[in-house]
Symmetry: C2
Subunit: 304 residues, 2 copies
């Protein structure tokens, strides 16, 4: 992988904005966005972070990749529900870049891989924040981003990007194989996002107590069996992640809950759908995960 002189962040929602702003402190950053107005605002005002840090950086933003400097690294940071469109938008561009996905769930790498021959890195992130405007994001949970090789990349490439993120003030760790981490988060997200979207509860103490705690535990047990059937040994126990997060008292609103509240498409296919499909393919029964998956899809059907 070339030296990381220029990083492009594709998609500037909460995670994309947090990445772009922090990286802007240590390297040249360009931002690929969907709306002209968003690009204009970023070029004019820069990008501000508040919360756990407080600074503003200059970035170069555009809606057309041809209007951006040639990047060494592209982080595709859009939500899973926008991934097809963003991947299609960079097809044939950024010929010398390595591309890294960071979406929840499974399968984002393959969506990008289908659009070009870039070397690919996988990542999952646990950081979170609140996007206050096109040019202002609040950094709330300073949790790690885990990075691993996916296609035509090496553990050393994952380390290079992790070091860059750490140098920029974020938490990051490289892995030789990301799947154990990705599956830990997949099981956590399929369960916590699904239960939150269906109950309307933020991720709080209810998820570790009666009456929901036993259901959350059973959903995670099914997820663990699906991981084992896929040959993956988990990096972390999703139930312990759940208990830890609820004890910290953040009452975080999972993105799927925010999506159903706002009647937006959710990431249910990349998260719950990919867990269920993997389990089916490997002969692991996951009836409760199937139930949550069907109910969230039903919830999306109720928008119209």
């Amino acid at each position: 992988m070339a030296a990381l002189m220029n990083v492009c962040v594709a998609g500037a929602g909460t995670i994309g904005s947090l990445l772009a702003a922090h990286l802007g402190r240590v390297t040249d950053v360009s931002v690929l966005v969907r709306r002209e107005e968003h690009a204009r605002a970023l070029n004019r005002d820069g990008l501000r972070v508040s919360g756990r840090a407080d600074f503003t950086v200059r970035v170069t933003a555009a809606v057309d990749p041809a209007d951006l400097p040639e990047p060494d690294l592209v982080v595709v940071a859009c939500k899973g529900s926008d991934l097809e469109a963003v991947a299609a938008g960079i097809e044939g561009e950024f010929g010398r870049a390595t591309v890294m996905t960071i979406q929840n769930g499974l399968g984002a790498e393959d969506v990008v891989a289908a659009r070009g021959r870039w070397p690919l890195l996988s990542s999952v992130t646990f950081m979170s924040g609140t996007r206050h405007s096109d040019t202002h994001v609040e950094y709330i949970l300073d949790a790690a981003t885990w990075i691993g090789p996916y296609r035509a990349t090496t553990p050393a490439d994952a380390r290079t990007v992790a070091d860059l993120l750490v140098g920029a003030g974020l938490k990051a760790e490289p892995y030789d194989d990301l799947r154990p981490a990705q599956w830990s988060k997949l099981i956590f997200n399929a369960t916590v996002n699904g239960v939150a979207a269906l109950t309307g509860l933020p991720h709080d103490h209810h998820f570790a107590e009666e009456p929901l705690g036993p259901l959350v535990h059973a959903l995670m047990d099914e997820g663990k069996a699906a991981a084992a059937a896929a040959g993956v040994q988990l990096a972390e126990d999703p139930w312990e992640m759940n208990v830890f997060a609820t004890q910290r008292g953040f009452r975080h609103s999972p993105s799927m809950l925010e999506d159903v509240r706002a009647h937006r498409p959710t990431e249910v296919e990349l998260i719950n759908g990919s867990l269920v499909r993997s389990a089916r393919a490997n002969g692991a029964p996951v009836p409760l995960q199937e139930t949550v998956y069907a109910l969230v899809r039903g919830r999306e059907e109720s928008y119209s």
Copy 2:
């Protein structure tokens, strides 16, 4: 059972109003309500039915049972979530009456039985309507009410009440044993109300198609196994009831969906809770019904 010269309807929501108004055409009807304002409006304006019928009857209403004529039959028609309060309110009253419950789910009879020695009838109803005001209810779905003996009553008593309802312009059928009908509706309601409350969907074609149809079918299969474990042979197949209702195209909003939309307590305990508890007691595994039960309770927790 004495001749039915005077019927008291306790609780004048949609079902109570439909019953009181129709019965008011053929017998003296009194109505026991919770709010003074409601009683005054009924005494002043009578009770109007629109929709499948259009008439107004005079009724005698009060918030205190002592202010009502002595009834021969009391229909406790409140929602399950108000049942404890209504049953407590008639304790020691109506000494010569037979009392009939009509709540969804299982166990309403026992709540009433604990409050007095009245002979008891059970019933379940499939009719539905919309309550437009304290004195106006619209009669929408003219489906039957099924009636059976419960304590110190006979099939002949059930027939007497069914005949009264039919004479009043409603549909009703007596049963020697109501449990096969009650369980059919229990399984239907636990599934359809639960899925509707969690997805936000009215009871429409989604409940018989992908992705929700297979879940609805599996939930009903668990319910059937729970009925069999309880020694009950179902009167009707809940899945056929589901397909029939969705094909009629009413897009009915189940009460549990309306309750969660309005952040009201639901009937989840009498419906989903009693199905799950009966299954547990009889050793029938119902993991998907347990899931829906826990999620709806979680939804109620989200109100505060």
